[in-house]
Symmetry: C3
């Protein structure tokens, strides 16, 4: 992951354009990405797909002929999606085009202007205060061309049609925690899940420029995805110093993934290596879950982070680097999310396929054929173990009506959800039980 990080970090990405496509190509070495593009000018719900930004270089030269900033040194130095400029200006004329952070005088901010034409340079506040009056030469070589908004998907098939969506964004240039952590964890999860011996659900992996890219995905695939979606995660800010996973509930808050995360947070479910904290859903901030959880979709898609946007100094500036993020922390995150997804596989409702009366467990060697309390000569421990397994079978069969999640069955009877896995597997093998996750989709998405 570390070398891949280093390869991706310096690329000048934006919501469209060559840097974004190059990044997809690099990631495509590790999972089989399909890239689709929504053409510039196409209506995407209430939006219009913007043109492509072709950036070549940006340089601000001072009155003394010395370079103030050059985008070749850091992609952050140019206002992202700047229009072209080649002008000489006084310092006063230049000021409205400069961006810095008074409170963090050493940091270069990350600034964008996608939907109104503008140009600008970003620099540290310390450097800005040293600028002397005089004439500055601002050069930005960039043009807007018809093209489109790309997004990339990969898929791991499951036993049934139901899918979980794992989504992250790829549009910020040289930022670490709040950019590359998401795609790298997504890539790690693809690797892990591809090795699972069985997957009850399919997994859809999505990488896109934030906001407009998820809107393009919804525009193209939303209706179809809705038929199979049972939950999802937006992956963002998955490194940093926070010792826990922070899960933001979906708007509905009742998806199977929401419920597993709530169970991990309140201790009803066994740990996954990292503590889990819960944030309520909030449309005021966040990432692409704001689109997935818009009222017309209302998908059960939450967001998972560790050191979350806005909660650290380096948010959207040059302090958000590889050291702050920590490659090791991404691996911890991948481990924890893999375990959480294993629980999600078990947590959904199942359907008892022989629901009229109890099935005859005796002829399947799952019920004692001799009815006798405390029969002499047998080990009481073995009887007790066998009885406990039978009890779990009886509980799972009785409550598996295709609606009540296995998560709730386990909680109600004090069973460890993970420990029900062999019970479920036996009953699946005997043809007595089948996963029934369609009911996880809830009334809204089932329309």
């Amino acid at each position: 992951l570390s070398a891949l990080f280093d390869e991706l970090f310096p690329i000048m990405r934006s919501i469209t354009g060559p840097g974004l496509r190059a990044s997809f190509e690099i990631l495509g070495r590790f999972l089989p990405l399909t890239v689709e593009t929504v053409a510039s000018g196409e209506a995407v719900f209430d939006w219009i797909a913007p043109p492509e930004w072709h950036f070549r270089g940006a340089r601000l030269v001072g009155p003394d002929g010395a370079t103030v900033v050059d985008a070749a040194d850091s992609t952050l130095h140019v206002l992202n999606y700047s229009e072209a400029v080649d002008r000489t200006l006084t310092l006063d004329e230049l000021q409205p085009h400069l961006y810095s952070l008074e409170a963090l005088p050493e940091a270069v901010p990350y600034v964008t202007s996608y939907y109104r034409r503008h140009w600008g340079f970003c620099l540290s506040h310390r450097q800005r205060q040293e600028l002397r009056p005089g004439r500055y030469h601002a050069v930005i070589e960039a043009e807007f061309r018809p093209g489109g908004v790309p997004f990339a998907t990969a898929q791991l098939e499951g036993e049934g049609p139901e899918e979980l969506l794992l989504s992250s964004y790829l549009c910020h240039p040289s930022l670490a925690n709040n950019e590359l952590s998401g795609p790298l964890v997504l890539l790690g999860l693809y690797d892990r899940l591809s090795r699972w011996p069985r997957r009850r659900y399919g997994y859809r992996f999505l990488l896109n420029p934030e906001t407009i890219g998820s809107l393009c995905y919804l525009h193209r695939h939303g209706q179809r995805q809705q038929q199979t979606l049972i939950g999802g995660l937006v992956l963002t800010c998955l490194g940093g110093p926070s010792p826990s996973l922070s899960y933001k509930l979906s708007r509905r808050g009742d998806g199977i993934l929401d419920r597993v995360m709530l169970g991990l947070a309140d201790g009803r479910l066994p740990g996954v290596g990292l503590p889990v904290d819960i944030r309520p859903f909030d449309p005021r901030g966040g990432s692409d879950e704001r689109q997935y959880c818009s009222p017309g979709f209302n998908w059960p898609v939450g967001q998972v982070a560790r050191t979350v946007y806005g909660a650290y100094d380096g948010y959207h500036n040059s302090l958000d680097d590889k050291a702050f993020m920590g490659i090791d922390r991404l691996v911890e995150t991948i481990d924890a999310l893999e375990q959480a997804l294993r629980l999600v596989e078990l947590a959904c409702p199942y359907r008892n396929l022989s629901p009229f009366g109890e099935p005859q467990l005796g002829r399947r060697n799952l019920y004692p054929t001799i009815n006798s309390a405390d029969t002499w000569g047998r080990s009481n421990d073995a009887v007790s173990d066998h009885r406990e397994f039978l009890n779990r079978i009886l509980v799972v069969l009785n409550y598996s009506d295709g609606r009540l999640p296995m998560l709730d069955i386990a909680a109600r009877h004090g069973f460890d959800l993970g420990a029900l896995e062999p019970v479920i597997a036996v009953l699946e093998r005997e043809g007595l039980l089948r996963i029934s996750p369609e009911t996880c989709r809830g009334p809204e998405t089932r329309r």
Copy 2:
């Protein structure tokens, strides 16, 4: 109001007849009333519309030739809806036709007998105890004629088809708090609401003889009214010494008006000038809400009062006069109810008209076009105010699914409901939001 009160007070009203019609005519000077009549003898659900009572005079003369009581002095002296009589009787024969109040020896009670023919006189208990044995002459000049039960309606149109019903009764003769307070407050509300710059709902004003009149309205208009009704108020006993409004919940208790009143009572909503107390729904007593909330209709119509029937000595007797009621208190009541209705206008569910993803607020100048945390050179206060307005927009858009009342959205996020009015107005103007009160009608009334 005071002069109007004085004009209405002495009229001999009943559930039918000329006094009731005369009262409608007087009130019709202040709001455009349409009077309809259900003919005597017509079946009205389980009832039969009664004949008209034409009363001309009533006088009880004592053994000494002196007048004991004369209805010309007070309409209360005759049992309302008495049949005609012209008889000479002993005091013992007369006693079953006399009504007085032992516990309030100075008060003349208000007594009626609508559905069984009877005659009688009402007098103070003190006066009754002074009656001497001898022959009394009882004369009541009255007759029952075919005619009908009238009720009167007025309407203020709203932007949409949904309506609130404001209903009061007009059938008691010379009583103040428990009679004229209701129609006078209704008239005041008509005046106030007619001046509002916009009304999201229509308002239906109804005046009727109690019980049989509301049944006649339901019989004629119930099915149609049910299609558009989102709530309503029965107005009764709106004066008196009580310093608060007392709201009796509708049977359902979940109408938008119920919920606003509950919010006012528990402090979640800002005050309306008078404190609000809540009474549970109870079919055992009350006014026309007993008909609106019968199980076949189950309308979300509550009842509002101040010094409520049964809770004061003057209830249904001559102590319930103008001084007890207090014209000033009616004005306070009108002020408070007007403010409560303003909140009801905002409180219902709205529908986000661009529900698939977030709408592009940037091109509507509702979203910062430059993404930059704490941009140097701007006033942080202005940024913060703008951000707070944007936050409200995001919350309102995300949760406005046509089902969740704005009341709940405001409460959940700690917003003052009244303060959301400019946010709602901007989004309505931009075509992004529309009121969706049809869902307030609830499953029962939507059949």
Copy 3:
């Protein structure tokens, strides 16, 4: 009951065969039983109806020629449903065919092996330990013949189509509390209910061999029964020292019978002579409610017991005799269940047949025709009694929407459910109210 107990106790019953049929015949003297049979070999959901067990005798003779045990002494001495055997064996060879209880050395256990061919003898552990090495002669005369699984039903018609199911099992041979108590209480309830002056519901009485017999009933009649069922009770273990009734909730827990039992347990309902305890539903143990509450049926059928299976030493062994059970306790149980069923008759929802507005109670002499507070000359007590009756009428009419159980109406307004019986009867007689128990069946059984 005592003589009937003595007649039934020694019969060799099993899940099929002549002993079971003989028992039905004896019980059929007391209630008109219809016996049906599902033929051996017929598929019953996931099961196959087993062949009939024709048992003639069983004897184990020791090395000294003395009889060790003989089924003629107690039906428990032979493993129930044993295959035939006539062998001479060493004690070591015999041991796997012997059953005893180490913890209860004097008790003879009750052991069965229905679904795997086996043979065996049951004896006290004390006797077993005295067995000397040598050659034993084991003789069991029994054969399996085609025939079928019988079950027996009786019916008491109600005013409407809705039914309560009262079910008990008859397959254990000489056991008292955990066998004969159920059929005897069922018989007592038939006798009591047949004498009721009116029954709002019908009552279906079912006797069957446990598990396979209830499955056969469900197989034959489940779909039809589901159309009319509003609740039911499995009767088991109804004697013993426990001073209370113990009610196991149905899986749904929301049936009208569940709710009455919950009301008796928490004191909201008046007592029925015995305290009531509640057990949660649990599919891991119990009787035929496991079949009725399987997810495909999910009937609102609970189970009632006193000294419950597993909670006493004599469970499934020879200590469970007439003295332990106690005939008097069965009578107490019958008394208590009869009273509980009377409450169930009142507890369900009713429908106001004149739901649009209040009906005109005055012309039915149910409303005071003269409106007067505290009218002089009447007894205030009489007014108050009449008013209280009227209040109950108003409450019952207003809330009887065909969905809200009368149980809840009574609880909400602090009325004693039993005391509402005359109010309900008057309104039924006046054509204003009708029982509406179909809504008790709940969404699942209404499919």
